[in-house]
């Protein structure tokens, strides 16, 4: 296999994201930047979830908890402690990673359906906990003092900066996904996904590998959370741990095709595009969740491998290229 063919699996996704990033500059509209921001955020979140779901085969119904936790942590450091944004983002990510590590120690030994069940409760339990946690503002959350934006050149400039940070995180997520996918570690994860017992017999130290996968899948969502809520100006429990976000993440991963680098990106793009349309249409606004549910059901019933997975099955050549 020629060298350049090997890297298509990386360059294609990166190119797609680069195109997205440039698009607002072309149209010059602020609204475009907002939409692209949402898509980039989705791409970063979904690519990260893919490391756990697509590569390792462990379904997490509550992955949004890392977004919320990182968001809260970062926000707290920014507003209550007055720390610089960069550190807040970094620590938001690391904090989420630590949470994943601790959580993983407890629940990763559960297999298949039981693990999924455990993750369902995680989001709700975390929300209930944060609701009572006074240092994080309890049920009313925290609000950012506007003067914090001054340190970054004013609110408008800060917003623009957030856009580029999220873009950078999306790139990072893709690169991380690619590195994991093509590494020996990634091969171990795939083996676990296919048959965990057989993988252990062959020498894959499943408990460690799974923990690392979980941690890696949590870091970038934590960082995204920190940026998102900095941009938002305030954070509250229902915004940080939204019920529907978990299913949206799942839909996006599975729509594009879990287990590939490109899949989550396509899925994120397609779903956000559809959602954007739904939200503006008066008919569909209220049943957004139902549409997401129906979509997921259709995918599960008819194209469980997602768009990219379906393509990969059609031709061996595609399989090598569309990592």
């Amino acid at each position: 296999m020629k060298n350049w063919q090997k890297y298509i699996g990386l360059f294609l996704p990166l190119l797609a994201v680069a195109a997205l990033v440039i698009w607002p500059t072309i149209t010059g509209k602020a609204a475009t930047r907002e939409s692209v921001f949402t898509i980039l955020k989705a791409i970063a979140l979904v690519s990260s979830l893919n490391i756990l779901l697509g590569y390792t085969g462990y379904v997490s119904f509550g992955h949004i908890v890392f977004f919320g936790f990182g968001g809260y942590l970062g926000f707290y450091l920014l507003s209550a402690r007055d720390w610089p944004l960069w550190i807040a983002i970094l620590l938001g990510g690391l904090g989420s990673g630590l949470l994943a590590f601790l959580l993983g120690k407890a629940i990763l030994r559960l297999r298949g359906a039981y693990f999924a069940l455990a993750t369902i409760g995680v989001n709700e339990a975390m929300r209930a906990f944060i609701n009572k946690f006074e240092p994080f503002g309890g049920p009313t959350g925290m609000t950012l003092n506007f003067k914090v934006y001054q340190a970054y050149g004013g609110a408008a400039k800060a917003l623009e900066m957030c856009f580029y940070i999220v873009a950078a995180l999306a790139f990072l997520a893709i690169i991380l996904s690619y590195i994991v996918r093509t590494s020996k570690f990634g091969l171990g994860l795939l083996a676990i996904r296919e048959n965990e017992d057989a993988a252990e017999v062959m020498g894959v130290v499943a408990p460690d590998a799974k923990t690392w996968a979980y941690v890696l899948s949590a870091i970038i969502p934590g960082m995204i959370g920190a940026v998102f809520f900095f941009k938002n100006g305030n954070v509250e429990p229902p915004d940080a741990f939204p019920l529907h976000a978990s299913i949206e993440l799942l839909v996006m991963v599975m729509l594009g095709g879990q287990g590939t680098v490109l899949g989550p990106i396509l899925g994120a793009f397609a779903y956000q595009g559809m959602r954007g349309y739904l939200v503006t249409s008066p008919l569909f606004k209220n049943i957004q969740l139902s549409v997401a549910g129906a979509l997921l059901l259709l995918i599960v019933l008819f194209i469980p491998l997602g768009a990219v997975g379906w393509l990969r099955q059609r031709a061996t050549v595609l399989r090598r290229v569309l990592t």
């Binding site: 359906a113 069940l117 599975m254 209220n286 969740l289 139902s290 549910g293 129906a294 059901l297 599960v300």
Partner: protein, 288 residues
């Protein structure tokens, strides 16, 4: 001393509630026992049961306990529909597929429900008076609901052990391939079993509606309780579900004496994880 009084006051209530929770959990554990599927649409169906009582009582003026039969029938039909549309195709696929399929149905119901009912709380103002036994006051609604729960359990057992469809269900639960070889129409039996499971969920919802205010989102709290009860009692074990329900009810009766009630979901979740880790076959033994 005050805590003991609180305890005495809330304990009987907890037991009665626990029986109703047990019915809900029985629905979940039945589906798991028969076809190895965890019905993640369990919560919203409980919520639909609640709304069923509301509509029947408020809009039609029928006594909620008579309306229970209507809600049960609706729950049964809904379950059969969900099975045929969403579950049957992935019944033999890896667990993940059926989890996602029922999760999708969950979201579909919540989405539609939110559109129709919004997320505001609803109330069924229905009182059956109260009874004083010594220093305890028991609400009539609780007593009747507990009685209904026991009757439903009895009816379920009669059905499973004394009727032919019930026997078919037990056969399919035991060994689906062998049952098919003996001519049992497995798809119909599976649909029926799923429907029974959702029927129990709807019934419990209908009963809970007479206790507390509710919204379309209330189901998820009871879904979590059902999961906890199922792992407590052992997945696939209906009597275990009832006993587990009692246990949880008692626990819920005890907790408010020492902690704020909003800690309850966190404690339940912690308990859930703990049991899965320590004794995944449940306190009363699982079917598998």
């Amino acid at each position: 001393m005050q805590q003991i009084n609180l305890l005495l006051a809330s304990l009987p209530d907890g037991i009665l509630l626990g029986l109703v929770y047990g019915v809900a959990a029985m629905g979940l554990t039945l589906i798991w026992g028969v076809m190895n599927v965890i019905n993640l649409s369990h919560g919203p169906i409980i919520a639909l049961g609640m709304f069923g009582t509301f509509l029947i009582f408020i809009k039609l003026g029928i006594n909620p306990y008579l309306g229970l039969l209507l809600v049960a029938a609706a729950g049964l039909l809904l379950g059969i529909l969900i099975y045929l549309v969403a579950v049957h195709r992935v019944i033999n696929a890896p667990h993940l597929s059926s989890l996602l399929a029922t999760f999708s149905v969950n979201m579909i119901i919540i989405g539609l429900g939110t559109a129709v009912f919004t997320t505001s709380p609803y109330n069924v103002d229905f009182s059956m008076g109260s009874f004083k036994i010594g220093s305890l006051t028991l609400l009539g609604t609780r007593l009747i609901a507990a009685l209904a729960a026991i009757l439903v359990t009895g009816a379920l057992y009669l059905f499973l052990y004394r009727t032919r469809p019930g026997k078919y269900i037990r056969a399919v639960a035991n060994n689906r391939a062998a049952a098919e070889l003996m001519g049992i129409p497995s798809m119909r039996i599976l649909a029926l079993s799923f429907g029974l499971g959702t029927m129990l969920a709807a019934i419990s919802g209908a009963l809970i509606a007479t206790f507390f205010p509710f919204s379309i989102l209330s189901g998820s709290g009871y879904e979590l309780k059902s999961f906890v009860i199922c792992v407590l009692g052992g997945m696939g074990n209906p009597i275990g579900a009832l006993l587990g329900g009692l246990t949880l009810g008692v626990l819920e009766g005890i907790v408010p004496a020492f902690l704020e009630t909003s800690w309850v979901p966190v404690i339940e979740f912690a308990l859930f994880i703990l049991i899965l880790l320590v004794r995944p076959s449940g306190l009363f033994g699982a079917k598998r």
